[in-house]
């Protein structure tokens, strides 16, 4: 029901485009610093742990690059990053819309004859669905760079072997799988957070409660979706 209303035609396309740009900035561009930080360090940690656990002389050294790439593309960048962004973006959306609800700003929109769900939520969904794949690609690249920096600086591997590992057994379908996951997770985060924000009742305390619920439920749904998407696409 809520989704049907959200996907109604916006009153003014000019206003929608303006709001979309704002949301791309808020949801996408302002998330980049944390994406950079987490991706570089997580890539580095994945590479170091893989290298540290490779005791068998039968395993070639390039396996480090291969495992770092696979872990990053299949799980870390689409799933772990989405869980982190559910915290950042989800709480932001739920508290913004929740505050608008308890201060009657949403009622004001409705009495003006404006579809408040389309006005408030649709630009957020479109911005997230458009920008999450870019964040994903950005995160993958940075993780792999982080892995390379960690290995080279610690002397556990060299550039040529690492790059050889990254290029080994490469499948395009892995990238497709990651992109599909990022799109689904973007949609999940924004719709669930908007739902909890929009249906907030009460005051400041309830806005905080909605924000927490939005993050928790988004995270749980992401984990469940991750399981089913993995079954559907990879197996």
């Amino acid at each position: 029901m809520m989704l049907r209303i959200i996907f109604s035609r916006p009153e003014k396309m000019r206003i929608f485009r303006y709001r979309l740009m704002n949301e791309i900035e808020l949801i996408g561009l302002k998330s980049l610093p944390i994406v950079v930080l987490i991706s570089v360090f997580m890539g580095g940690v994945i590479a170091l742990q893989t290298a540290a656990n490779m005791d068998s002389p039968l395993l070639p050294e390039y396996t480090i690059g291969y495992i770092t790439r696979s872990s990053t593309i299949l799980e870390f960048s689409p799933t772990i990053l989405s869980l982190i962004l559910a915290g950042k973006i989800g709480s932001n959306i739920a508290s913004e819309i929740g505050t608008m609800r308890v201060t009657e700003q949403i009622d004001a929109l409705e009495t003006m004859g404006i579809n408040s769900l389309t006005y408030l939520v649709l630009p957020k969904i479109v911005a997230a669905v458009l920008f999450f794949p870019l964040i994903l690609v950005f995160s993958i690249v940075l993780s792999l760079v982080g892995g390379w920096l960690a290995l080279v600086s610690s002397g556990l591997s060299n550039t040529e072997t690492y790059i050889f590992g990254l290029r080994s057994f490469y499948l395009d379908s892995d990238i497709v799988y990651a992109l599909v996951k990022s799109e689904v997770f973007a949609f999940v985060i924004v719709t669930i957070s908007s739902f909890y924000g929009y249906y907030t009742k009460g005051g400041a305390l309830d806005v905080g409660r909605s924000s927490t619920q939005a993050v928790v439920i988004s995270s749980v749904v992401i984990l469940i979706c991750n399981f089913f998407l993995t079954q559907m696409i990879l197996l």
Partner: protein
């Protein structure tokens, strides 16, 4: 004219509005009064469609609002201006942007035309030159006036004011009351004010509806509220000794 006919509304099995019928005349300040928790705001929210009624009809100049859906209902809403209890201004927008917002969303006016209209509305509420202020930079009275400017920007046929004086000092309350009255008479708007501020009722109330325990308990004009013997309304309006003294003075004046 707005008519509500036999409205019932309940929340979780608790009847909040019980068979309410009332008329709100065009070009007049119509007031809904009553104690807190008696259903005044719920009635107003039902009339503007923020709550759905369980039974009954709401007629805007004969158009049955409660039976309309989607765009037809939205068309009537575009004729409504509403001043909310907490002003409900958009935090991230300046005073001017708040006033221009309904114009930008619902009309095809150029930016220049919208700015002219916003200037006119802000000027009308004595806030000329305050265009660039954010709501957080304004006092409570200024926020109410910006909200009134926003409410009248679309030249509404119907104006709803939910507790326009809440949180305001007596002097600012009088300014807001006078503004509501002037705007109503000037533009021939059907104004509905929800309040429990008896000063406002006596000052600007042309038609008064008294809600008690979810029922329309009494209705009349501002003279009738002074002379009425209705125990429920006397209990509410003249609850204090001070107000009883005022009633005596006012009754003497009327004689």
């Amino acid at each position: 004219m707005i008519e509500v006919v036999n409205i019932n509304k309940s929340f979780n099995g608790t009847l909040v509005l019980d068979d309410i019928t009332a008329k709100f005349d065009t070009g007049k300040v119509n007031m809904i009064i009553g104690q807190s928790g008696q259903g005044k705001s719920v009635l107003a929210k039902c009339i503007v469609g923020l709550h759905e009624v369980d039974e009954g009809s709401i007629l805007y100049d004969g158009r049955n609002f409660s039976e309309l859906e989607g765009n037809e209902r939205r068309d009537i809403r575009k004729e409504i201006g509403m001043l909310f209890q907490g002003s409900a201004l958009f935090d991230s927008m300046t005073a001017e942007q708040n006033v221009m917002f309904p114009l930008s969303m619902l009309t095809n006016m150029s930016k220049k035309e919208m700015q002219e209209r916003a200037n006119f509305c802000l000027d009308r509420v004595n806030l000329s030159g305050k265009n660039k202020l954010l709501p957080a930079e304004c006092s409570g009275g200024m926020q109410k006036r910006i909200a009134i400017a926003r409410a009248i920007s679309m030249k509404p046929k119907y104006l709803f004011c939910d507790e326009p004086n809440s949180g305001l000092d007596p002097k600012t309350s009088i300014v807001i009351d006078n503004l509501i009255r002037e705007i109503t008479y000037e533009y021939g708007i059907t104004t509905v004010v929800i309040t429990h501020d008896m000063n406002s009722v006596i000052e600007i109330g042309d038609n008064i509806v008294f809600i008690d325990q979810g029922r329309n308990c009494w209705s009349g004009d501002r003279n009738a509220i002074i002379t009425t013997d209705n125990p429920a309304i006397n209990n509410f309006v003249y609850a204090s000794e001070f107000m009883k003294d005022i009633k005596t003075v006012l009754q003497g004046k009327l004689k």
